[in-house]
């Protein structure tokens, strides 16, 4: 704000980016250690360093939450809203690193850059949630996107992985260009790239056409990143080709961060004309996602379609009134992260070398061969359906209830019908696991410690959110208040 008066940032401002600093430092440590170690040792050590980094970032987030405020001349804003997403992103990062531990060894992928990129990507996602200046949002978005482009192509031996990477990259850049054009038009309409200033300008009078179009274009770019229809087409292909733990990562953490950006842009900046836009996009996403998933035989692809549908449910909250919609959306991101990371952790374990076993067939008889693993996956799937006592239930409950309070009856009916359709294909996986005999014996190796911990964390989080959603929701309500103030 007063760039002339204050030349150097104060110490407290560094605390406001502490998790990012921690993650960056650990990322750099990994990159420096990598060439010093032989391949076998590096797998475990670097994974451990990455895990420590993610955990340190969680601690840093908790510490940071005591120093709310704006830093770096209005670039970042630490409030309870951003702390929420920081925590979510760093926690997902930690769980994904735990999941990857075994996966990397089985797939025989060199680990150094992998863990480094996960941490750097997490920096971008964290920054997205606390950035309040479009310049910074844009750069953070790019950091997270570029890391995920590369991570998607990490199974270098498989042709589909590099294909997934190139598709993701080209379409992602395409969408980024739209986002940028939106930012440009917004700048043209308001003369600023600071969200606060934009909000003031837009709230002060009838917003110009340019602002509407700017919002539309930004929405295209961000909608692409969260896989909302009709910008979702990349999702199934990319998710199928990318390494399974990375799919768990990129279907949750970057999405959560982009939803945070979307919330800030739509609500803090008082974006005009959002209602019907989101109405249509949400309805389309839910319907296309669920219908597409009905006939999928590849579990990764099925979950990809399901993530499109879930983006739709989440967007329902965006159409509601901010006071109810924001907490509902935040709660949804949290519970979606918990269950989806968990589901992909199971998928990545079962996939085994070269991701051979990812079709429905391969899951047949899992209930008998590996009851605990099947039970855990069942919890996640039930949560994805939205059965009570799991996080997925309350997530849907709050979202639809918020939408109904905004009189969006049609959207709610579409949503609830869709969740009934959705039950079908998740149930199909459960039925296959428990009630089909395996045609050929698919080997299931015992669950290693790291993965076990990851699964336990996800399962506990899913159930916690389903049984005692109160505290998280209360927190989210409070942050929504912060955001809207």
């Amino acid at each position: 704000m007063n760039g002339a008066a204050q030349v150097t940032p104060q110490a407290v401002e560094y605390i406001r980016i502490l998790p990012e600093i921690v993650l960056t430092i650990f990322g750099i440590i990994i990159m420096m250690l990598d060439p010093l170690m032989d391949e076998r040792r590096s797998q475990r050590t670097l994974g451990a360093v990455g895990l420590v980094g993610a955990l340190a970032a969680i601690v840093a987030t908790l510490y940071q939450s005591q120093y709310p405020g704006v830093g770096f001349w209005g670039m970042v804003n630490v409030d309870s809203f951003s702390v929420f997403f920081h925590f979510l992103v760093t926690a997902v990062t930690a769980v994904v690193i735990l999941t990857s531990y075994e996966y990397m060894e089985v797939q025989q992928i060199r680990a150094g850059e992998y863990y480094g990129l996960i941490l750097f990507g997490a920096v971008g996602m964290c920054l997205m949630s606390s950035a309040v200046e479009l310049v910074l949002i844009f750069i953070a978005l790019e950091i997270s996107s570029i890391s995920t482009y590369i991570l998607a192509g990490f199974r270098r031996r498989a042709a589909i992985s590099s294909e997934s990477s190139v598709k993701y990259f080209l379409l992602g850049s395409f969408a980024t260009a739209f986002f940028l054009y939106g930012v440009a038009l917004m700048f043209g309409a308001t003369g600023s790239t600071s969200i606060a200033v934009i909000g003031q300008v837009l709230a002060s009078g009838q917003p110009p056409v340019l602002a509407y179009v700017g919002i539309a274009l930004m929405f295209v770019g961000l909608g692409f990143k969260v896989a909302a229809a009709p910008f979702h087409v990349w999702t199934p292909d990319v998710y199928e080709g990318a390494p399974a733990p990375i799919v768990g990562f990129m279907s949750t953490a970057p999405k959560a961060a982009v939803f945070a950006v979307l919330l800030r842009i739509l609500f803090e900046a008082h974006a005009p004309g959002r209602l019907w836009l989101i109405w249509v996009v949400a309805a389309l996403s839910m319907t296309l996602g669920n219908i597409g998933a009905l006939v999928q035989d590849n579990v990764k692809r099925l979950l990809a379609y399901s993530s499109i549908a879930h983006a739709g449910y989440l967007l329902v909250a965006f159409a509601a009134l901010p006071a109810n919609g924001i907490p509902a959306a935040m709660f949804y991101t949290a519970s979606y992260a918990a269950m989806n990371v968990g589901a992909f952790a199971v998928v990545s374990h079962l996939a085994s070398a070269g991701e051979r076993y990812v079709t429905m067939e391969d899951y047949a008889g899992l209930g008998r061969r590996s009851p605990l693993l099947a039970a855990t996956l069942t919890i996640f799937l039930l949560s994805l359906i939205g059965i009570p006592a799991t996080g997925g239930f309350f997530a849907k409950f709050y979202v639809f209830s918020a939408a109904l309070q905004a009189n969006l009856v049609g959207l709610v009916i579409i949503g609830v019908l869709n969740s009934a359709v959705g039950a079908y294909y998740y149930l199909r996986v459960i039925v296959v696991m428990y009630m089909r005999e395996a045609r050929q014996e698919v080997p299931v190796s015992p669950v290693p410690l790291g993965l076990g911990v990851a699964l336990a964390i996800s399962a506990v989080a899913t159930i916690y959110l389903g049984v005692l959603p109160g505290r998280v929701l209360e927190y989210a309500t409070r942050s929504a208040g912060d955001l809207l103030r």
Binding site: G3, V76, I139, S147, Y149, R156, L210
Partner: protein, 169 residues
């Protein structure tokens, strides 16, 4: 410096830019496309100058035309250009593509028509002499954090490029 014959230069440069743009997407040989793109970039640098942005114009020439496009040309040379060239260049439904893109273009034009009252007839004159200095002050002041974090972006890009391009992993 008082602008000279701005209208003439505007039409000249924008004509060059559009011509370059069209050539990029119509040439068969990727090298030709790249050269056409460089033409567009240079023409745009001229337009930046007319809009009182000499620093950006300089960066455009050095970074874009000089750096990025050279990278493009390198890669084009690296892959088997003969083989690539033989492959069919256009989609069978190119007409559909053009229609969709044209619709988009018309929409943009429509925006500017609708928003005509919004734009001033004449742009604000910014100080050109001190432009670079002012930008420097902003970059290392208000935008310091963004500037620093951009270095992380470049680090990620370097790592990524190395990972993707190296032969074995």
């Amino acid at each position: 410096m008082q602008p000279v014959a701005t209208t003439f230069f505007f039409y000249l440069l924008s004509g060059a830019a559009i011509l370059g743009g069209v050539l990029v997407i119509t040439r068969k040989n990727p090298v030709h496309s790249a050269l056409a793109l460089i033409m567009t970039l240079l023409a745009q640098a001229g337009l930046y100058l007319m809009l009182y942005a000499p620093f950006v114009a300089g960066v455009q020439i050095i970074l874009y035309a000089g750096g990025i496009m050279v990278l493009f040309l390198f890669v084009i040379m690296l892959v088997n250009i003969e083989k690539v060239q033989k492959q069919e260049q256009f989609n069978k439904q190119w007409l559909v593509g053009i229609v969709a893109a044209a619709a988009l273009g018309v929409l943009f034009v429509l925006v500017y028509m609708k928003g005509e009252s919004l734009f001033p007839k004449h742009v604000v004159r910014l100080a050109e002499e001190s432009n670079t200095q002012e930008i420097a002050v902003l970059l290392y002041g208000q935008y310091m954090f963004a500037f620093e974090i951009a270095s992380l972006l470049l680090l990620v890009a370097i790592i990524g490029a190395v990972v993707m391009a190296k032969k074995r992993i």
